[in-house]
Amino acid sequence: MQGRRAREHSLPVVPALKRVLPAGLRPGGVYSLQGSMSLAMALLAGPSLNGAWCGVMGLPDFGVEAAAGFGVALDRLVLVPDPGERWLQVLAAMTDVLPVVLACAPARTAPADAARLGARLRERGSVLLVAGNWPQSEAVLRVSGQDWEGLGQGHGHLSRQELRVEVALRGASRTAVVDLSGGVPEKASAYRIGA
């Protein structure tokens, strides 16, 4: 089993995030994202630009237009804004069929549930991005600060976003500065963000 996993191709990330996750998203992994929806969208954009279907669960405020701006293909995106009581079943059903799923973190996760879901993810080779804390995650990407350009005192408009991302990947921790305005590949230039 393990050998097959290792050979499996990891899902690509957009060039702007190459410094954060040089190896891409590992199939079967859970990534905990904290503090930024833009980062989550940029992570979805990599697989989506390569033809993967993506799912978003439990995030009723997901900005569809911004996602399109990052390069997420809307015709391969499925939203389940309100999973109701059965958070885990719904998430499992989604990860069974969709290669990348972004989900909000539940209020409380039992470690046993998390382990079961993790095993299921590894079997299916899907990637789970959790917006919030997750007990057994492959990597934690925490946004410790963000800088905005383009705004003055009463003039201008927001044009450029820079995130300081702390990455805790397999015990090692480091910080990277990500400029998301340069993160959109040429293919999606119609939605190019930034001036």
Binding site: G63, L79, V90, W148, G154, Q161
Partner: protein, 520 residues
């Protein structure tokens, strides 16, 4: 044998209750009278008259536009009745059909009694019919047209059709070009035309002329091709007593839905659009057309019925729908709205891979959570951000105009990048100036004092934790639809970056501040 139903477009319009059942009436095609009633004819209305002219001659004339679909639809019960008396009906056009006389004549004993049986069939439905029997279809049509109201059928003995047709003018061929040419050549009747040698007709008029020549000779080569009666694909399920619980209805429907799909498959069809009609015990009928991205399976049919029974939540996309059970359901009808040949929907040899799997998985989620729970996003037109987010249930087609709307300029929309978090309903916030007062705008849209403090939580009151406003811009006016009570909007937009580095899109509406979206 040809059965002719005079003025069928008019009769059909009356059957469909588009026209009053008596009194002068006419069906209008392309601005001209296509068919008119006997009362109108008495007033001088004839076919081909301009509508204005017809109304001048007969001031009480009721008119309605021609509708070929309606003609065909209303003709269907007549055909069914004819097929009961004599199978093998060939529909030449709605209102005119041909039947092979041989079998019918042998069954009924004579050609006259076969014609009588057809007239009986029409009579039982209350429509007027004329019957002509001849050697060829063309001759039989002419014979049927030559009948009168008192003698409703005409039977030409075998091999007399040519003599019968001889006195008819060449216009009867219904080929205006040929008729006018023949007349200029001095040939005025079908008899004259039939006397021309066949080889001359072929060299002068070509294949079409040869066909017309055969028709004039009473040797119509067009064969009577009986239609295949359509299979009944609708499925109707009655409950007695009526059921008022969704799970009961769904359970009862499982087997009929399977049979419904199996019957379609047997006919070589798949259903891509399904109409579900529910009738409750008070006689109220609710109908809805359901689409499907692929084609309906039995479980999908049951799901659609269940969704139609479930009360629908407030629907932003405005899909028409009836929701909720108010009284017991006594009848469920499954009607295929659109069908397609099964050959286009077969499975690939190696399965259909990812898409198939995704569809199955999401459909299962939908049957677990409800149809509105699994959504496909699209960008729609609008100035307010949450209006620009169009969510369509999985399986329903995305409205085509959405993309067109989104491509319009929408003055007042915010420049890229778009905010990543768009609140489904705006969040109340506070924006204060240096003195701690709410930031306000004068009626001319001028900012009275620059913002200095920001509270993301308006409920906290004056003691809520404040964040400094480090950068800001605005006001950007947002004005739309002042004429529309419900969608009218008069607001100012601000972009701010607060002391924690969060960027917000704020909305000042009246005296209150709302967070429309967050850049995060």
């Amino acid at each position: 044998m040809v059965a002719w139903f005079p003025d069928w477009p008019l009769v059909a319009a009356r059957l469909a209750e588009d026209l009053p059942a008596d009194g002068p009436a006419a069906v209008i095609a392309q601005g001209k009278v296509a068919a008119c009633s006997a009362e109108a004819r008495n007033e001088g209305v004839v076919r081909g008259l301009r509508i204005r002219e017809a109304q001048t001659r007969c001031t009480t004339l009721a008119v309605c536009p021609a509708d070929p679909l309606r003609d065909a639809r209303e003709f269907e019960p007549v055909l069914a009745s004819l097929e009961e008396r004599s199978p093998g009906v060939d529909v030449l056009r709605p209102g005119l059909c041909a039947i092979r006389i041989r079998g019918a004549a042998r069954y009924y004993g004579s050609e006259e009694s076969a014609a009588g049986a057809v007239l009986d069939a029409a009579d039982s439905l209350g429509v007027e019919a004329r019957v002509g029997v001849a050697d060829s279809v063309f001759a039989a049509v002419q014979a049927a047209r030559s009948t009168t109201e008192s003698v409703a059928f005409m039977v030409l003995p075998p091999h007399t059709s040519r003599d019968f047709l001889a006195p008819f003018p060449v216009e009867a061929l219904e080929q205006p070009g040929l008729a006018s040419l023949l007349k200029r050549l001095g040939i005025h009747t079908l008899g004259d035309f039939a006397r021309l040698p066949l080889s001359d007709v072929r060299s002068r008029f070509g294949e079409a002329g040869v066909l017309a020549h055969a028709m004039a000779r009473g040797e119509d080569p067009t064969a009577v091709v009986p239609r295949v009666p359509p299979r009944k694909l609708d499925r109707q399920v009655d409950f007695d007593p009526g059921l008022d619980r969704i799970d009961q209805i769904a359970f009862q429907l499982r087997a009929p839905a399977g049979e419904f799909i199996a019957a379609l498959q047997e006919a070589g069809l798949v259903c891509t659009e399904l109409k579900v009609a529910l009738t409750d015990d008070s006689g109220t009928r609710s109908e809805r057309l359901w689409g499907h991205p692929r084609h309906f399976m039995a479980s999908d049919v049951v799901d659609r019925v269940r969704w139609q029974l479930q009360p629908r939540s407030a629907d932003p996309s405005g899909i028409q729908g009836a929701g909720g059970i108010t009284s017991a359901i006594v009848r469920v009808e499954l009607i295929p709205g659109r069908t397609d040949s099964i050959t286009g929907h077969g499975q690939d040899l190696f399965g259909e891979g990812a898409e198939e799997k995704i569809h199955h998985g999401l459909s299962r989620l939908q049957s677990m959570l409800g149809q509105d729970a699994v959504l496909v996003p699209a960008v729609a037109g609008g100035r307010v951000l949450h209006e620009r987010r169009l969510l369509t249930p999985w399986g329903d087609p995305v409205p085509r105009e959405a993309a067109l709307q989104a491509a319009r300029p929408w003055p007042g929309s915010i420049p890229d990048p778009q905010p990543a978090t768009v609140f489904a309903s705006p969040v109340p916030v506070l924006l204060l100036d240096a003195a701690g007062e709410t930031v306000r705008i004068d009626p001319r849209g001028v900012l009275l004092s620059p913002p200095a403090w920001f509270c993301p939580d308006a409920d906290g009151g004056s003691r809520a934790p404040r964040r400094q406003v480090t950068e800001w811009t605005g006001p950007w006016p947002l004005r739309q639809r002042w004429w529309d009570e419900d969608r009218r909007r008069h607001a100012e937009r601000f972009q701010i970056v607060d002391g924690d580095g969060d960027a917000w899109l704020l909305l000042l509406s009246g005296e209150r501040w709302w967070a429309e979206a967050r850049y995060d």
